[in-house]
Amino acid sequence: MAVIEARGLRKAYGPTVALSGVDLRVEEGRILGLIGPNGAGKTTALNAILGLTPYQGELRVLGRDPWTERDLLMRDVCFIADVSVLPRWIRVSQALDYVAGVHPRFDRAKAEGFLARTDIKRTSRVRQLSKGMVAQLHLALVMAIDARLLVLDEPTLGLDILFRKQFYDSLLNDYFDRTRTIVVTTHQVEEIQDVLTDLMFIDHGRIALESSMEEFESCYAQVMVHPDRVAEARALNPIHERQLFGRSILLFDGVDRQQLAALGEVRTPGIADLFVAVMGNREGAAR
C-alpha cells in the first residue's frame, strides 16, 4: 500500500510556483531522501503532505486528505519540521505530560527510556537545553509515538557531527522496523546515504530524479580516469565531468562496470556527486 500518493501536486505562492505538478508514490517501509537546493519546493511538498498548507492536485497520505483531516492524520504521522520548534518555555516533564495527554499512540515509558540515555533533566525548560539536547528530546518524543509515517525536515540542521550521527543511528536502530515509512530532507546528504532506501531529487518544483538506492548503486558509477584514457572515457557519454588534483572524474549512468574498470578507478558515487551532476546539467540546460 502506498503511504503517500500524489498526482499533479501543485502549489503557487502568488506568481512563484513552489510545486509544479509533482507525481509521487512512497510505499510502506521505505526511507525516502528528498534532496534539493534551497527553494526547490521540498518544504512545500512536506507541508502539503502534513496538512500544513493547501494545494492543488490529488494527494492522499495513508488514505486521507491531509488538508481537511490533519488532526486525524497526525495520529499516524509524526514530523520534526526543522530544528527548534519545541516551545522554549516548556519543561521536559510538561512536554511528556502533554504529548501523553493528547496522543493516543504515545508510549511514555519508551520516551523516558530514550531520555534516560541523555543528560536531559526532567525539570529543565527547553530554553535551558543545548541545541543538540533539544533535538534529542524531540526525537525521543517522536520515536515513542507508534506512527506509520515519520517526516523529518532538516532534522539535524546546526547540530555537530556527533549528534547527527547519533540521531540517524537511533532512528535506524530504535525506530525503523520495515513497516514504518520515513521521509527526510537534508543538505547533509553524504550522512544519510547509507540510511536511505530511496532517493528523490527535487528542483524548481519538479522531480528531477527518482531512484531506489539499489538502482542508484547499480546504475551510477564514478571513474577516476587514467590521464591517457580520457578521450576514450568521454566517448561513453558521461553525465558529468569534473577535475580533481589534475585527474578527470567522470560520472556514468548505466555503463557496464567492467568496461569502466579498464579506464580507471571505479566506485559508487556519493549522492552529493550525483546531485551536483544532475542539478548542474539542469542549470546548464536552463541557460
Binding site: 507541508n47 502534513l50 496538512g51 500544513l52 498548507t53 493547501p54 490533519r70 488532526d71 486525524l72 492524520l73 497526525m74 495520529r75 509524526c78 514530523f79 520534526i80 519540521a81 526543522d82 527548534s84 520548534v85 519545541l86 516551545p87 522554549r88 518555555w89 516548556i90 519543561r91 510538561q94 505530560d97 502533554y98 504529548v99 495527554g101 493528547v102 496522543h103 493516543p104 524531540h138
Partner: protein, 291 residues
C-alpha cells in the same frame, strides 16, 4: 483503530487548556500578585479601623466602615483578570507563530478547533474562576484582620461576621464575573482573530481599525456613534447588569438585574460577533505558517 477517537476530544481539550496555563503564567500570577497587594493594603486599612470608626456617627456609616474593605477587595482582582484576558488573547495565536512552536503543536493530533476553544476558555472560564477563587480567599483571610480591628476599637470582634455577609457577596461576585465574561466575549474574540491574522504588532491591528472607523465617522458625519458603541462595549456590562446605589456600590442581590442584562440586544449581538471571530480564528490558524 477508531476507538481512541471518541474519547480523546475532551482529553485533548483538557491538556490544551493545561498547556495554556503552563505557558502563560501571568494568567494566575498577575491576579495573585494583585490579590497579595490588595490583601496587604486592606489588612493595614482594617487595622486602622478604630480611627475610622471614631469619625463615624450613624450605624449606617459604621456598617460601611467595617464592610467596605471586604466588599472592595475582589474588584481589583477581577479587573486584573479582564486585563490579563485581553493581553492573553492578543498573543494567543500570534506567539506560537512567532516562536515557530505552531509546527510542534500541529504535529500532534489536536484540531485547530480544539486549540482555539482551549485558548478561548482561558478568558471566558479559567480567568473568572481564578478571580473567584482569589476573591474568596482574600476575603476569608481578611476576616480575622477585621475582627482584630474591631477588638482594638473596643467592640465585639464577632461584629465583623454579622456586618459582613460573605454568602451574600459570593453570588454577586459570581454574577459579576459571569456577565463580564459574556459581555467581553466579542472583545476577546476580536483580539484572538487579530492574533491569528497579524504578521506583526497584533495590538496595533486590534486597536487601530475601531479607532479609524470612529475617526472617519467623525469626519464624515460629525457624529460619535461608533465611539459610543465601543464605550458601551467596555462599560455596558456594569450598566445593563447592575443598579448601583447612590454611593456607587453593589451590596444587595436586589441590585442585580439579570433580566435586563439578558434582554439587552448588545449582549446577543456581541455573542454572535464573538462566535464569528472565534470561528474565523480557527480557519486562520489552519492556514497560518510561522512568521
Amino acid at each position: 483503530m477508531n476507538a481512541p477517537t471518541a474519547a480523546s476530544e475532551p482529553r485533548s481539550l483538557y491538556w490544551s487548556v493545561r498547556r495554556e496555563i503552563w505557558e502563560n503564567r501571568s494568567v494566575w500570577l498577575a491576579p495573585l500578585i494583585v490579590a497579595s497587594v490588595v490583601l496587604f493594603a486592606t489588612a493595614i486599612s482594617t487595622l486602622c479601623l478604630p480611627i475610622r470608626l471614631r469619625a463615624t456617627s450613624t450605624p449606617a456609616q459604621q456598617h460601611a466602615a467595617i464592610v467596605s474593605p471586604f466588599s472592595m477587595a475582589p474588584a481589583p482582582i477581577m479587573f486584573t483578570t479582564f486585563f490579563v484576558g485581553f493581553i492573553y488573547c492578543l498573543d494567543a495565536l500570534y506567539g506560537e507563530r512567532r516562536d515557530r512552536s505552531i509546527l510542534f503543536w500541529k504535529s500532534l493530533p489536536v484540531s485547530d478547533g480544539t486549540t482555539v476553544l482551549a485558548k478561548a476558555m482561558i478568558p471566558l472560564l479559567i480567568l473568572p474562576l481564578i478571580a473567584l477563587a482569589l476573591g474568596i480567599i482574600t476575603q476569608l483571610v481578611l476576616l480575622p484582620f477585621g475582627a482584630v480591628g474591631l477588638a482594638a476599637s473596643g467592640r465585639n470582634p464577632g461584629l465583623v461576621f454579622r456586618e459582613f455577609h460573605f454568602f451574600r457577596g459570593l453570588p454577586i461576585m459570581i454574577y459579576g464575573l459571569t456577565v463580564h465574561a459574556l459581555w467581553f466575549a466579542p472583545i476577546y474574540g476580536w483580539f484572538m482573530l487579530v492574533s491569528a491574522w497579524a504578521r506583526r504588532t497584533p495590538v496595533l491591528w486590534a486597536l487601530m481599525p475601531p479607532l479609524l472607523i470612529s475617526a472617519v465617522e467623525r469626519i464624515v458625519s460629525r457624529t460619535w456613534y461608533f465611539m459610543y458603541m465601543l464605550q458601551y462595549r467596555v462599560m455596558g456590562a456594569m450598566k445593563e447588569a447592575f443598579i448601583f446605589d447612590k454611593k456607587g456600590d453593589i451590596s444587595s442581590l436586589s441590585q442585580l438585574t439579570p433580566g435586563r442584562f439578558l434582554s439587552a440586544p448588545g449582549l446577543w449581538v456581541g455573542l454572535v460577533f464573538a462566535v464569528a471571530c472565534f470561528a474565523i480564528a480557527v480557519r486562520l490558524r489552519r492556514n497560518r505558517e510561522p512568521i
